[in-house]
């Protein structure tokens, strides 16, 4: 298998180099057979990467511990589901995963892009091949080859880190990888547009859905990462501003900015330079995230083992940045806006400031992430930049962004009149004030949550108003029932109303995040039968009674399960179990040997209002006397709900049909082109 795997990697490298060199040489122009060779090289690269991946999976499933990667990340007693996810658990395997998924996306882009964009495709093939070649080369030449063999064959592997033995880890990393990797396709289209000088909106229409795919994967991946951190790591939160978490947020923020600003380019022919810069910047940030994760240059709980692989990524990052922005600079004069902004109070201007804020937040996160390095370089002093810093800097920006989420859709395109603004803002502002007043009456005094929930009321008002007005218009025009009018409204304007559903997801996220300001924590040591009371932020009283600790063997681990009886306001409310797990592998003598540190499985009861979150910290002196941490975490369920709403809205937005971009462009042009003339003709 290793021979086949190595052969496949070399084949991928050579096919990729062929495709990239031929594409960038431009020799395919006017020679269809050469252009075909370029695009076919993409399929060949995918086939070779797929063979290499199958070879690695075969080695993992066959427990071939002579392969160093298989030995390092699996064991004979590893549950079969995690044998599958071990593929991307380590540095080397994840590089191969990256290469195979990128080559798959590159092949799909070639196969699925309509023929009218054919002049762009050889360049797209060249860019995707070049990026794939980089990943394959890193595997082959930087000591990160997943097919490296050990000089002997161990009886068993070291096993998979217990924290990675969680269902979340089977989907969270692939989702993030899919997000990161698919960014390459929009980037390839942007570079293709610049190289071919076809700088109309064609490249945007060709890649817009890819950008949405990437944005959605990354958004869902980030949410799944929060879920995994919450249920597996046991610290009771879901976001810690860790450098690797930050690195995943950065491209998501710039992609979100792009998804807004691209509407201005499509509708008005503006912001062409900015949009190209954003696409290039997003790709660079995805490579930067990979550099952070794999170099060890910034301390992170998520990082792979420190290795020289990161420096390959740094070099790649610099080369791509210089080449891309130089290319953009040479095309600068061709990227003049078709029209000018007509008013500061317009949706275009609102989108512009929303973009500024998205990029500003991305910058502040990047700045905070890199500031320790900068500080050490300038002052020679190591400092830590943790959650207190990020919260101080980013919470105000986040609130401003939440406000713009509500403001943007209320302002008319081109120029809003005072009358229009009054009509549009009355209900949302009213709903925001009402929510704030109710919360103050209920005794909420903390400023940040109060502002967040008040703004959430405003944004909710905006979204409700948009849906209601659209639905009402359909009811009046077509006499449809409310559900049918709503369904058709969304179905025929998927991009717009899918976008509003995504705004709703953001609102739900913010509401949930603010809830954590009221988290309650209590540590207690309990003998069997002893109880402790914890007051919920909603005013209820939980009584937790320690039942006892049972121990048993399960799969590849010993489990110590501590059981707690829960009573809510004196009424029995079931039991919650939290566990300590000690994993083991089988050594050369055939006996069990502890592997890794003991891990904790949190006991969670999730509810719409609050989560009861119990961590069994350990036993006192080997007895059943247990040390617990009890958390009452408000509104956490809504974070996961936000993830589902985001997914739903994203899918609606990118679902095929519902009006083509070309049609909407013509529609927009027709509308704008005649408005002024209509006004001149005296039509009221």
């Amino acid at each position: 298998m290793t021979l086949l795997g190595n052969f496949a990697l070399w084949a991928a490298l050579l096919f990729g180099i062929w495709g990239a060199v031929l594409a960038f040489s431009g020799r395919w122009q006017g020679r269809p057979e050469v252009a075909l060779s370029v695009t076919r090289s993409v399929y060949a690269v995918f086939a070779a990467c797929a063979v290499a991946s199958i070879a690695l999976w075969k080695g993992i499933i066959a427990h071939d511990f002579n392969i160093e990667y298989v030995w390092a990340y699996t064991s004979r007693n590893l549950p079969s589901g995690y044998l599958f996810s071990a593929f991307w658990a380590g540095q080397k395997g994840s590089l191969l995963f990256w290469a195979v998924v990128l080559s798959l996306f590159a092949a799909l882009a070639q196969a699925m892009t309509p023929r009218r964009y054919a002049p762009l495709m050889p360049y797209v093939a060249g860019v995707t091949s070049a990026v794939t070649v980089f990943f394959v080369a890193v595997m082959l030449f930087s000591g990160a080859n997943p097919f490296d063999r050990l000089p002997f064959t161990p009886a068993d592997g070291r096993g998979l880190n217990p924290q990675l033995q969680n269902p979340g880890m089977m989907i969270h990393p692939p989702m993030l990888y899919l997000g990161y990797i698919s960014i390459t396709i929009p980037f390839a289209f942007a570079i293709a547009a610049l190289l071919s000088k076809r700088l109309d909106t064609g490249w945007i229409h060709a890649m817009r859905r890819w950008m949405l795919v990437s944005w959605l994967f990354l958004g869902v991946g980030i949410t799944l990462g929060m879920w995994w951190a919450y249920v597996e790591l046991g610290w009771g939160g879901y976001w810690a501003w860790d450098p690797v978490e930050n690195a995943s947020l950065l491209p998501w923020l710039t992609m979100t900015a792009f998804l807004h600003s691209v509407m201005i380019q499509e509708k008005r022919g503006m912001l062409k330079r900015w949009n190209l810069s954003l696409v290039v910047g997003t790709f660079l940030l995805s490579i930067f995230g990979t550099f952070i994760t794999r170099s060890g240059v910034i301390a992170s709980v998520h990082s792979f083992t420190q290795s020289n692989v990161g420096y390959y990524f740094l070099a790649f990052l610099v080369v791509i940045a210089v080449a891309s922005y130089t290319l953009l600079y040479t095309r600068w004069p061709m990227l003049e806006a078709d029209v000018e902004l007509e008013s500061m109070v317009s949706r275009e201007a609102a989108f512009l400031f929303n973009n500024l804020l998205f990029v500003g937040i991305a910058f502040s996160v990047l700045w905070g992430t890199l500031f320790p390095i900068l500080s050490e370089a300038v002052r020679g002093t190591k400092i830590t930049v943790g959650p207190p810093f990020f919260n101080k800097v980013n919470v105000p920006l986040g609130l401003l962004l939440l406000a713009l989420t509500g403001i943007g859709p209320l302002i008319a395109w081109r120029k809003a009149s005072v009358q229009n603004l009054q009509r549009q803002f009355a209900f949302p502002v009213g709903s925001g004030l009402l929510v704030t007043a109710v919360l103050v009456a209920l005794g909420v005094r903390d400023l940040a949550p109060l502002m967040t929930w008040g703004l959430a009321g405003f944004v909710g008002g905006t979204i409700a108003q948009e849906f209601w007005r659209g639905t009402r218009a359909r009811i009046r025009m077509y006499g449809e029932s409310v559900p049918m009018a709503l369904g058709r409204l969304v179905g025929r304007n998927r991009r717009r109303y899918g976008g509003y559903i995504v705004h709703l997801a953001m609102l739900v996220y913010f509401v949930a995040f603010a809830g954590m300001a009221f988290k309650v924590q209590r540590e207690a040591t309990l003998k069997p039968g002893e109880s402790v009371e914890v007051k919920s932020p909603f005013g209820h009283t939980y009584t937790f009674t320690h039942v006892g600790i049972s121990q048993f063997k399960q799969l590849n681990r010993y489990v110590s399960a501590a059981t707690v009886e829960v009573a809510l306001d004196g009424k029995p409310d079931g039991r919650i179990v939290s566990e300590k797990r000690q994993h083991f592998t089988i050594n050369e003598l055939g006996t069990e040997e502890a592997s890794f540190e003991p891990s904790t499985e949190v006991g969670i009861r999730s509810g719409l209002r609050e989560d009861v979150y119990i961590v069994f910290a350990g036993a006192v002196d080997g007895t059943e006397e247990a040390v617990y941490r009890f958390n009452i975490n408000p509104l956490v369920w809504w974070v996961w709900a936000g993830g589902f709403i985001l997914l739903f809205g994203g899918l609606i937005t990118m679902w095929p049909g519902g009006g083509t971009p070309v049609a909407s462009r013509r529609h927009a042009e027709a509308g704008y082109g005649v408005e002024l003339a209509t006004a001149r003709a005296g039509v009221p």
């Binding site: 709980v301 500061m344 400031f353 502040s364 002093t381 959650p387 006892g548 029995p572």
Partner: protein, 185 residues
Amino acid sequence: MHRRAFLSLQQDAVASPRAGQGDVGTLFNPDVAGRPRAPTVEGDNDVVVRNTELRLRCSCGCTLDIFTCRTTDFTCTYSPALHREILALFAEGKTSEGVIAAFVDKYGEKILMAPKPEGFNIAGYVVPGVAILTVGGIVAWIIRRRVRMSAERAGDLTGERAAAAATGTDDELDRLKRELAEMEK
């Protein structure tokens, strides 16, 4: 049957006395139940202590603060020791700021979860905001300038476009109005 009602029935069915109630039994195999723990002390739940620990970094290399590290997975040996050190400093009568100052003296500035806003560190706090405000100001200025120029150009073309529009029929103008209404939604 409602889940809670079902659970309470189950609970009633448990033999009395309930499992584990009474004397503290010993574990079958204490070696697989994680690190042995000392019983909780009063300071473990003190809000001032917790808030102080949230501002100090654990030195085990985990990048977490002391409170989060010592209550996460409970495998770190550094954070419980640092916690005891903090409790001892509070017992000496130090305030939260005093404890933090003592930690900075002993472990250096890197023990803080966020740098003090002084000297070069101020740049860390203000640069993002200043950058956003500066760029925002420049963007606003450019927009205003272009809006003005655009308005001036539109004024020059008024007569020409009005003439063009005047050639439209009533039906065409109605259709244009509908288009505009659609766009304004």
